[in-house]
């Protein structure tokens, strides 16, 4: 109420609510309102100007309180802003920067940033040139990501997308990045589960969880990804590498559709707003690798999520998102049903800028591994036809089985990239003895633990990998050390 009176006096303009349509209201008056301007109602809740008509202003509401026809509204003279600052790390906030789940004392940040901002131009941009380890072997070795990449994570529900995202978040934060997890239109419980996981992994203090749940107003859910990116841009401008997860944009598109239909705009394909591609592309375009004013580089990696129905990758929003990102990781429900974890279909996944961030060793490893997996598949189909199995085929299949077991990764396991490379070379060289595929997981776990605890062992592995420029050289070096 105080805020309302303050803005009323400041701008000298008043409006009266004339129509209420769920999240969108029409206000008469406010003659000098501008598009995107923040509006405050007499009950204290805020909104944003969506459209200007001859005698009315269309406003998108963010608050929960009911609004009646006849309520007063005032302009604020400023766009919608979110408080930004280090104080938000280790907090669960809503898209307006207000704390949701109590986690110690909350200090409101002093700085504010507009939620809607045009992406930085070509001058400030740099190529994606640094590898982003996800800790998930199948991704790091076959569909690598780079810092500043916009990679779509796509798949049916309950196929392990969130697990992968959380593993990536843990790995990125352990590597010194800042994490922002935006839950868009999900259940309230999801935020709690994610916070519990982050606390368990001891990385919550370097993460901001931004939650706009399905029980919030559609306007607030609509705002969520923009707020998350604005927050990310703040940390980026401090010189930090930031990872933003937008979970998920296909649901966000549905909220956009709801709002667009409420405002009686002309519907586009599948009734989505006609500018849905523009609004999502503009959002995702805010990610990238940037040169800051002081000459340093900092990245804003965005992982938007899209849900598919019955693995249909050709949906409107899904194809939109695919075409505005630098590749996609596809979670295949068939692989999930077959027990593969993570259920990533590497043949249908794409990374457009990730490979350029790989070291020559990783690149040659990746190339060899892909051709080997293709060979395994070919041999497997031969075996299906009942062809005679030669020793050579037997060896290939056995190695393929071990590699497949190596790619089988539990949700809480994060494998450092050098351990991934080293372990794979051991499999390749047959240095793991008569190891059966069921025992791979245990062996790998042992090596990961030893690598994390034993500094000498870590140095040894890092040294072997550091001096190997190609996969062939690595195999030679590992072979020499092992024998």
């Amino acid at each position: 109420m105080n805020n309302f009176k303050h803005f009323l006096e400041k701008t000298g303009e008043i409006g009266v609510v004339e129509e209420v349509r769920s999240s969108v209201i029409s206000i008469g008056g406010l003659p000098r309102a501008k598009l995107g301007e923040k509006i405050v109602l007499e009950n204290g809740q805020t909104g944003q100007v969506l459209a200007l008509e001859e005698t009315q202003v269309e406003v998108l509401l963010f608050g929960h309180q009911p609004v009646r026809v006849g309520d007063w509204a005032a302009r604020t003279g400023e766009v919608v802003k979110i408080p930004v600052g280090k104080e938000l790390l280790g907090q669960v906030i809503n898209p307006l920067g207000e704390p949701l789940l109590p986690n110690g004392p909350f200090h409101k940040p002093k700085f504010f940033r507009p939620v809607e901002k045009p992406p930085l131009g070509i001058k400030e941009r740099l190529g994606v040139n640094e590898f982003l380890p996800t800790g998930v072997a199948v991704v790091d070795l076959l569909v690598p990501l780079g810092k500043g990449q916009r990679e779509l994570v796509i798949g049916d529900r309950k196929t392990g997308k969130t697990t992968f995202l959380l593993q990536t978040l843990v790995s990125a934060i352990r590597g010194g990045m800042i994490g922002i997890y935006a839950l868009i239109g999900k259940k309230e419980m999801e935020a709690k589960k994610i916070v519990d996981f982050l606390k368990e992994q001891k990385i919550f203090s370097r993460t901001v969880v931004l939650n706009a749940s399905s029980s919030d107003r559609a306007g607030l859910v609509w705002l969520a990804p923009y707020s998350a990116v604005s927050l990310g841009e703040y940390f980026r401008d401090l010189g930090k590498d930031v990872l933003i997860i937008l979970d998920d944009l296909s649901l966000h598109a549905k909220y956009c559709r709801e709002l667009s239909l409420q405002t009686k705009r002309f519907p586009g394909r599948d009734s989505y707003p006609v500018d849905i591609f523009f609004s999502h592309a503009r959002l995702v375009e805010r990610g990238g690798n940037f040169r800051l004013k002081d000459g340093k580089q900092a990245s804003l990696t965005i992982l938007p999520v899209a849900e598919t129905i019955a693995s249909d990758l050709s949906g409107y929003i899904q194809t939109n998102l695919m075409s505005m990102t630098d590749g996609h990781i596809f979670f295949d429900p068939d692989l999930f049903a077959a027990g593969k974890r993570p259920a990533i279909n590497t043949f249908l996944s794409v990374t457009r800028v990730g490979r350029q961030t790989q070291t020559p060793l990783l690149r040659s490893l990746s190339r060899n591994l892909i051709s080997f997996l293709a060979e395994v598949e070919k041999k497997q189909s031969l075996v299906h036809f009942g062809a005679e199995i030669t020793k050579e085929i037997e060896e290939v299949l056995a190695r393929g089985e071990l590699i497949e077991a190596f790619f089988q990764q539990k949700s809480r396991v994060i494998i450092p990239i050098n351990v991934q490379i080293y372990f794979l070379s051991l499999i390749w060289l047959g240095k793991l003895g008569e190891l059966k595929s069921e025992e791979v997981e245990k062996k790998l776990e042992e090596i990961v633990k030893k690598y994390q605890k034993d500094k000498e062992y870590k140095m040894k592995i890092d040294k072997i990998i550091g001096k190997s420029e190609s996969w062939e050289k690595l195999l030679k070096n590992v072979d020499a050390k092992a024998s």
Binding site: L8, E9, T11, G12, E13, I14, G15, P31, A74
Partner: protein
């Protein structure tokens, strides 16, 4: 000035008349003043037309600190019709907290000429 705009002077009168029209449309028999009957001209769509007309009247909102007499209200309403807009209806509100002066709210513009604001500004 048309008779309609002359007769309707305050927001309260608009609201009362709208209630009566609703009652009439629901089958009731409220007693309308003569000028209303003339306005409707016994046409079936006349009531709907009148309702629309009433709802579209611009409101001149004025907040004062005292309870004005009926005579003063009339004077204010007439002054607004003559000097501001003939279609405007007066919405007079009383708020003792403003101490004196008035707050005007017209066509989206808000002007606070109250004594309380003046005092606040001088003590800043």
């Amino acid at each position: 000035m048309s008779k309609f705009y002359e007769k309707i002077k305050t927001k309260q009168e608009v609201e009362d008349l709208l209630l009566m029209i609703d009652e009439k449309l629901d089958g009731g028999r409220p007693r309308f003043p003569e000028w209303v009957k003339e306005e409707v001209k016994d046409e079936p769509e006349g009531w709907g037309r009148l309702k629309e007309k009433l709802e579209s009247l611009p409101v001149f909102s004025l907040t004062v600190a005292f309870e004005p007499t009926e005579e003063f209200r009339e004077k204010l309403a007439n002054w607004i019709k003559e000097n501001v807009e003939k279609k405007a209806v007066l919405d007079l509100k009383i708020d003792k907290e403003i101490l004196g002066g008035a707050i005007i709210n017209w066509q989206g513009k808000y002007r606070n000429y109250s004594l309380s604001k003046k005092l606040k500004d001088t003590t800043k």
